[in-house]
């Protein structure tokens, strides 16, 4: 079998496995982990299109996530609009927001672009806090009951278990991977990367910089808003710091950077590393492990301290990972893997 056929076969098997998991695995916690994984992959892949391929490092992507989340939740709460329609409204809205942001930020290069992207997201976050009539301000929006999803009178799901969320998440992750693949293997991918590598050179080769930057932005923003909508309905609660905060923007970037920017599987790798690690910390797995191995006494000061605080340390971990990746593996895990797998001809004498 040729290489491509092998890859395709492996892909099918993996897909079949993923589809089968909710049927075989009962534990809601395991499903929750997978959902987190799908969410992270979606966020990372979405950012990758603008940041990894087109080279526009937006550190304000929470803006798009938040618009998707808030639009969906607001419509559900205020007008009982089911989220599968509300999410579309979110997407339409986010296109307008993205184009507005692009028109401001794309005139700037490098660090100035980064700063502007942060400022814009902060403006949105603060507006969400202040426009209480619309968004319920700092209290956030809570929607615990989702309408049942019906297809011509037949109830497909009432969202009472995690299972439907698993499948939605899987679809979203596959969608973002698919879009990335489509971009990568099209004119868009080439033009995005040309802009990333050398904007002026790309311009002189017939590439309309503003057009393609905006295309990358819109694709990225729409996918991110879907992730936001998904987050909203899964968790049932959104508030400004969680869905519009700088922490989220950084987290979205991290998934992609750790995994490898501008690659198809980078964000997947990044998510596979970050999600289990932060969950391990959050659930005291690490502390328990240290106790089991005997390195730490559960009752000692250190033990108690670890047990109480390590759970919140996942962001600290993000910081450490970023520093390590930037210093030692700037191409991310994907770069590392590629170097091992098939060294591309790099140096010419």
């Amino acid at each position: 079998m040729s290489n491509t056929m092998l890859k395709a076969a492996a892909g099918f098997i993996l897909l079949a496995l993923l589809l089968a998991i909710p049927k075989q695995v009962e534990s809601p916690y395991a499903l929750h982990m997978m959902i987190l994984l799908f969410l992270s992959i979606s966020m990372g892949q979405s950012w990758n299109i603008l940041g990894g391929f087109a080279g526009q490092y937006s550190v304000g992507h929470a803006a798009y996530f938040g618009v998707g989340a808030y639009a969906t939740m607001m419509l559900m709460q205020a007008r009982q609009v089911p989220p599968w329609i509300g999410a579309w409204a979110g997407m339409v809205l986010v296109v307008a927001v993205a184009l507005a942001i692009g028109s401001i930020c794309f005139r700037l290069r490098g660090p100035y672009f980064v700063l502007a992207s942060i400022a814009v997201a902060e403006i949105l976050r603060l507006s969400a806090i202040n426009l209480t009539a619309l968004t319920n301000g700092a209290e956030g929006i809570l929607v615990t009951e989702l309408p049942a999803f019906k297809l011509s009178e037949r109830v497909l799901t009432d969202f009472s278990t995690k299972v439907p969320f698993y499948y939605i998440g899987l679809s979203l992750a596959l969608l973002t991977i698919g879009v990335t693949y489509g971009v990568q293997h099209s004119k868009l991918g080439y033009f995005f990367q040309a802009i990333r590598e050398d904007q002026d050179a790309a311009h002189s080769l017939g590439i309309s910089i503003s057009l393609y930057k905006n295309i990358a932005l819109v694709i990225s923003a729409v996918l991110t808003s879907l992730a936001g909508a998904y987050y909203g309905i899964y968790v049932g609660f959104v508030d400004p710091p969680t869905v519009l905060g700088l922490d989220l923007s950084v987290q979205i970037m991290l998934i992609c950077i750790i995994g490898g920017m501008g690659t198809l599987w980078g964000p997947v790798l990044g998510a596979l590393v970050l999600v289990p690690m932060s969950e391990a910390l959050r659930s005291n797995l690490v502390t328990d492990l240290l106790v089991k191995v005997g390195l730490v006494n559960a009752d000692s000061k250190v033990g108690v301290f670890l047990k109480e605080n390590l759970a919140h340390a996942h962001v600290l971990l993000y910081g450490i990972l970023v520093v390590l990746v930037i210093l030692f593996m700037p191409d991310g895990l994907m770069g590392f893997v590629k170097k091992l797998a098939r060294p591309r001809k790099q140096e010419v004498a």
Binding site: K187, F191, Q193, S204, L205, G206, K345, A349
Partner: protein, 239 residues
């Protein structure tokens, strides 16, 4: 009808006139050399022509069409493309991907673009490097890559900015041959160069700039014997 007309073009940066009232035209199918000491305004003129920035005064006509203020991408789509004095490879992309970016100016099919790119790489003699990372190439090959990439955009007018800069004689000879081959295909070229022998060999006509002004224009023979040109390059004592 000349393919390119430069009418009284000036470019000011603040109070400094980098280019001052320069006029000339280029006939289709010919090679126009553009020479002058460092700082004469040659690259600035290229930048004005290709839309990197607009001229402060004067007009640029390409195929009779006024080009002032058009963005570089529109300029390219209309048939004018340039290479850069300091090479600008798309470093992390492969050699063939670099050229494909150029080819994709006129096609949306990756397959067509790749075929076109490979053709161009064969023309410049880089097809054996197709899958190499552009950033790892030595300078001579990077220059060739840039030419191939520019050619892939199917230009009618190719502007080469010191394409032989930093090359050894063997590499320069290859470029010279390349330029002559390109001329054979019917493309018009404007070449900025410091290598006098090369310019003499390839140019049909030459424009000489000095301190932003056009010193003179003529055939290679006329230019090389002109006392003002010699002064501009070598100083008063050599006139």
């Amino acid at each position: 009808m000349p393919i390119l007309e430069i009418n009284h073009v000036s470019k000011f940066f603040g109070g400094l006139a980098a280019v001052s009232d320069v006029s000339f035209s280029v006939e289709a199918g010919s090679i126009m050399g553009l020479i002058g000491p460092n700082g004469a305004g040659k690259t600035t003129l290229f930048n004005c022509i290709t839309g990197y920035y607009p001229p402060s005064r004067g007009e640029v006509f390409f195929h009779g069409r006024r080009m002032n203020g058009l963005d570089p991408d529109k300029v390219c789509m209309l048939g004018m493309v340039r290479t850069w004095q300091k090479v600008r490879p798309l470093a992390r992309l492969s050699v063939v991907d670099n050229v494909m970016v150029g080819a994709l100016a006129h096609t949306s099919s990756l397959r067509t673009a790749r075929a076109l790119a490979m053709d161009q790489l064969r023309v410049v003699g880089l097809d054996h490097r197709a899958d190499f990372t552009a950033g790892g190439l030595p300078i001579g090959e990077r220059k060739k890559l840039e030419v191939a990439r520019a050619l892939a955009t199917r230009p009618k007018l190719l502007l080469l900015d010191e394409v032989m800069g930093g090359l050894n004689p063997a590499e320069s000879a290859e470029i010279i041959q390349l330029i002559l081959d390109i001329k054979q295909q019917g493309l018009t070229q404007m070449v900025i160069e410091h290598d006098m022998k090369a310019i003499m060999r390839i140019s049909d006509r030459i424009v000489v700039l000095s301190s932003g002004e056009k010193l003179m224009e003529g055939t290679p023979q006329e230019v090389v014997t002109n006392p003002d040109v010699i002064t501009a390059y070598l100083g008063e004592s050599h006139a």
